[in-house]
Symmetry: C4
Subunit: 281 residues, 4 copies
């Protein structure tokens, strides 16, 4: 839906997932390090499955919203009488949601059937993000300058996310890549909101001049402020997660995570196995 | 041949190979897992050789078809009297087939002579796909908008396939990459058919308006529906293969493939060796 | 600041860092080789932290300079009366400095808290360079040809640096990548000076004709002369570092670094572990 | 020199190196395999040094030719009287040769001083090719269509070569990459000749119509015929090398290189170490 809600809805979805990932992956990384890399914490696999379920639900919500809003296509694709396609915008958005739904399905299957090759879930997620990017690329081509620019900035975040997720197919459980994914997803979420606010002014305010080059310049800069904010959010969540773990261990009378040179060394050694897919951490 | 047959022919070739790969590679992967990665199943190498032979045959069929159709160049490249090139379109298509033929030759040689370095077969295939992409890129430059757009969408699938195949040079026997290749090849096949149907309407129907932007938008979306379909096909074939193997083993009274955490673990460990070229599978 | 100082300031920063890196990394590499890769020389980690501090200081200087020059925005972003943005150029430059500051902060944290995953520092640096590149890309779009070309050449160095630094996330302590980073940073520094000199002629001299194509051609060539110079500088610094180490060892009566085939062999073996992140250095 | 000689000269250089590499690397690969990967054949390192020397000589010849042809700049860069640059074309070509010279210098140093990090030679070669590509990209921008297209095709080969050589920094002694480099270099050589023949018709013949689109189409196709030819040449040289080794061993009464499954297996295992830089082969 080319209106505020149509941007706020996916924005919120991405924001939720980004924030959740920025908590989940540090938790996984740190608790594995605590447990001396001994056993893979099984619960995290269940969490992946639940995530997949949420993706499916969100995707369904998105698709239904795009289809059945008052001015939606209501599942009509081609109207016979006036020989034309019906609401292709909504159909394209539906397609985007569809691929995120597929990604969710693969997540669930990966959990249910160990015979599914590892990495397919990341691959499917990466494809979903990539498809979203391609569809955006083509469907903002013939818009006014401001509209086109603000969406093309979104493409930077989208394709950055697609690439880093693609890398995760081969470098699974790489904490750096996972935090990149979390950050990029947060940026996507906040920028969707920004787009909605700039183009549709939900709370009134003056219209943005679509020709004014200084608006373009401001938005370019603003986009990277979102990046800086995302970096800060991820860092804060990482720190909070670390503190929680330390406190819980202190409560259980266990030793703190040692911050010694050895620890550092173990880090480097785990870093050494990044390129050979360090999932045994 | 810029007509329906000229798109249906390569489309069918790609479709056949894509479908075959989406069965073969899961079969290889699963049967290797069953056999505890002990011995490399030799028969699969013979299958590769047969594939190479098929590629050569298909390439020859394609080249002959392009050359000797009634309105073809019949191997004339330059006509002396009117000082011009003869049917360059057909010659370009012939060139595309030629490289797939070369790829087939390398496949056969890799099987016949163990001294041929491994990876050359994948490399040659990747080059063939890349060359096809380049030739398409240049020879749709000066077409009407719809024609150009529908072919440029094809380029996405082509270059995605070229990249993933290039990766296989270094990550041989990586099931994820192999399934990507299968999926992308299926998309190429179906999309060739789509192009033929849209541009040449073999079964009549109204002409597509080449200027109408909504047609462009629909085709963009339709292209990714082909992707979703390909994902589904690959998934279904993977499942069927798995079921066949299980039934056969059950028939032979052998244990089922265990779906325990250990199995999962072995998966992750094999996944861990992806980047170091998992050849022990 | 779109004037000479505004280019000389960042130019000097990059030049300083590039030169420093071209000394530091050979030093680290060679002294580790001398010490038989036994223990990681700890002091180098402290050096990283100090570097981070310097980055922060330089970034602050840059931001304050951009904000509080006489014709700067003085932290005003939007002026109410004439309903327009204030000095967006300066704001964009401030944003660039901001990300380098963030990179410095991450460097310091990586040193202080071993629990910070290794690679985040390189990642943040790479993001900072990438952001600089994106902002440059957008804010020279509507300039005269010469101005645009001379900045677009800078983009080559910027994105080359961003990519090589991104690789360092996975190939930490890879001497080749580190020397690439040093060289590219030197080029950026010198080219910033070149831009300032060409566009603003601090020492007078004739105006450059912005339309003249031969000026474009000369600058293109000149840019790669800077590359050649950077290569030479890095090579010289590497040699000097090597000589210093040899002399110091000679002074301490220790044996010279052997240049035998074994040495060569050890090199190759360490080279062999490049892709698995050579952390034992 | 924008004339036939100016294209034939570099073309011959590239052709010589491509052909030489297509013999040298198979020789190295096969003789190492024969010797059971035991010792690195030392002579090949001396050969690298000689290659470096040849590069330097060729680069010098090229630079002198560009400078001191009758219509060359004779080392004058800026002419005072008519306030303009002198023969920038020749200067740009000189710059290209310069970087190949630098690459040669690094080759020699790598041989002389084992302390030079491995991979720098490949890096420098890759940079030289990349610089050549960038300079070509910029200096054919404002040419007639045919001229621009024929050079832009060259860019495909150039950047493909730059990428594969860059990969060799991390995957040294990877026979596949080395054969890619050989093939791409041969294509560059032959295509330089093609350009010279098409644009300057050294042996007379009719002028090519620069506007005619069919000429563009033919050249695009012709470029990839050069690729096919290069593939054939590399394959033939590989075979000849193999036969020579076999005959020599037969003469010395040594066993043939075994073509058994074990051999195959060893291949795969060596293939397995590709990504961890297989130079111990």
């Amino acid at each position: 839906m080319a209106n505020f809600k149509g941007h706020a809805l996916p924005g919120s979805f991405f924001l939720l997932f980004g924030l959740w990932w920025s908590v989940k992956y540090p938790l996984q990384y740190l608790s594995q390090k605590v447990n001396k890399k001994s056993q893979r914490i099984y619960c995290f696999q269940r969490v992946d499955a639940i995530e997949g379920g949420l993706k499916i639900i969100f995707a369904l919500i998105g698709m239904l919203a795009e289809q059945f809003v008052p001015d939606g296509p209501h599942l009509y694709l081609y109207s016979g009488e006036n020989h034309d396609w019906v609401k292709l915008m909504n159909w394209q958005h539906t397609t985007m949601y569809l691929f995120y739904g597929l990604s969710g399905v693969v997540d669930v299957f990966t959990y249910l059937f160990p015979v599914v090759p590892l990495g397919l879930d990341r691959l499917m997620l990466s494809v979903a993000v990539f498809v979203e990017g391609c569809l955006f690329y083509y469907h903002v081509l013939h818009r006014p300058m401001l509209d086109q620019h603000i969406h093309s900035l979104l493409l930077i975040a989208i394709f950055a996310g697609a690439c880093s997720t693609m890398l995760e197919v081969f470098l699974r459980d790489n904490i750096v890549l996972e935090m990149v994914r979390a950050g990029v997803t947060i940026v996507q979420g906040t920028w969707f909101w920004q787009i909605g606010v700039v183009l549709f002014r939900p709370w009134g305010g003056p219209m943005w001049d679509e020709k004014d080059h200084s608006n373009i310049m401001f938005l370019t800069m603003c986009f990277f402020w979102h990046w800086a904010a995302a970096v800060a959010i991820v860092a804060i969540n990482y720190t909070l997660t670390y503190c929680c773990i330390q406190r819980r261990r202190a409560g259980r009378g266990e030793p703190y995570i040692s911050l010694t040179a050895q620890q550092q060394k173990r880090d480097t050694s785990s870093q050494a196995t990044f390129l050979s897919g360090s999932d045994e951490e």
